[in-house]
């Protein structure tokens, strides 16, 4: 249990998708003009990540990694399909996004109307694929850890985009040098936020 909590906290604050790995920057920059829309996108990311990371974990564990097929037939223990992981992960993500979109549309039209436009964007959000790839790279021990990591990374991304959106709403009223307006200042602010987040490095887990 303690371990799950550690992974969860770490993936929110220390290994923050945006500040430590720059993942999901495209939508982070494009959609962070107002708090409302960015919160919508952020929630959609959390939603998709908590599904895709565990699913990709199972796929990696029982289909792709070296010797993973031995549960079907012990003779297949030598098969290593890990070279297929990118294509499998992206396929899972794309189909999960589609599935989530259909489910949300069916059962909660209100949620769909606020999240709907973001869902297709998410399939190519690097934070989602990054989550699965990091999960594979870091060799999490069980599905619980993978889920904790997926949830934490999603929430970390949500915090980042809501925070930058709030700042951007405020700085519209500031007198920024013209060439720096918009994109430039957003980058620099994100950098400064990243520095602030680095102070979490010292916490003992």
């Amino acid at each position: 249990m303690e371990n799950f909590f550690n992974i969860f906290i770490k993936s929110i604050f220390i290994d923050n998708m945006v500040f430590a790995y720059f993942l999901g920057m495209c939508s982070y920059l494009a959609v962070s003009k107002t708090v409302k829309t960015s919160a919508g996108l952020g929630i959609a990311v959390v939603f998709v990540m908590i599904i895709t990371v565990p699913v990709d974990y199972l796929i990696n564990e029982y289909l792709l990694s070296p010797g993973a097929l031995s549960w079907i037939n012990p003779e297949w223990a030598g098969i290593d399909l890990s070279f297929l992981s990118f294509i499998m992960f992206i396929a899972v993500i794309a189909s999960m996004v589609q599935l989530v979109e259909m489910i949300v549309e069916k059962f909660s039209p209100a949620l769909y109307s606020s999240l709907g436009i973001f869902l297709p964007l998410i399939a190519v959000n690097c934070a989602i694929l990054g989550g699965s790839l990091f999960m594979q790279e870091r060799e999490y021990q069980n599905i619980g850890e993978a889920t904790a990591f997926g949830l934490g990374s999603g929430i970390g991304w949500l915090i980042a985009i809501v925070a930058i959106a709030a700042i951007r709403e405020k700085i519209t009223y500031s007198n920024i040098p013209a060439p720096l307006r918009g994109l430039g200042i957003t980058f620099i602010i994100t950098g400064l936020m990243g520095i602030a987040f680095m102070s979490f490095l010292g916490i003992t887990l």
Partner: protein, 218 residues
Amino acid sequence: MTTESKKKEPLFSAKNKKLFSLPLFGNNPITVQVLGICSALAITVKLENAVVMAISVTAVIAVGNLIISLLRNTIPSRIRIIVQLVVIAALVIMVDQVLKAFVYDVSKQLSVFVGLIITNCIIMGRFEAFAMANKPWPSLLDGIGNGLGYGIILVIIAFFRELLGFGTIWGYKIIPESFYDFGYKDNGFMILPPMALITVGVIIWIQRSKNKDLIEKN
């Protein structure tokens, strides 16, 4: 050159040249179109990594553009996105395998970021916006141009980060030892992630103060 190209426009017509050179400076994918930053910044700590990454992305985008352009009339529009994703993913897997086999050290440092080329929005963006509607040759040029435009920013960022962070360029010591004797120190801060963002911010600032058209109004 060939009879074929005589009949049509020449291979390096002004229009084609523009396809190639525009993304490099004028319409740069990173600083102007704001695409593909996701995987760009984390690997710019060292110049070598940035160059390998730039070459990989250029290869994927150029070959991908070519393939999509060749197939553009056969791709069913309903599964268009999936076909594009499969092409990208397949190319990226090949790049990853090649890197692992020939530049193992670099591929270890790039780790997951090679895989993240798949979600690099530049590539999907170029497939949708250009390759689906254009002939193979311009698509190839457009792909190379965008790949290099992306690469050049990576290289610029990596140049400064490596120089100031480690005092080296491409692993060779550039800052003379005598500087260190006078109390100069490598700035470890440059190696940390936030400085990549700030460096990009500064590059955008410089580019926009030279090119006033790009300034955002708000």
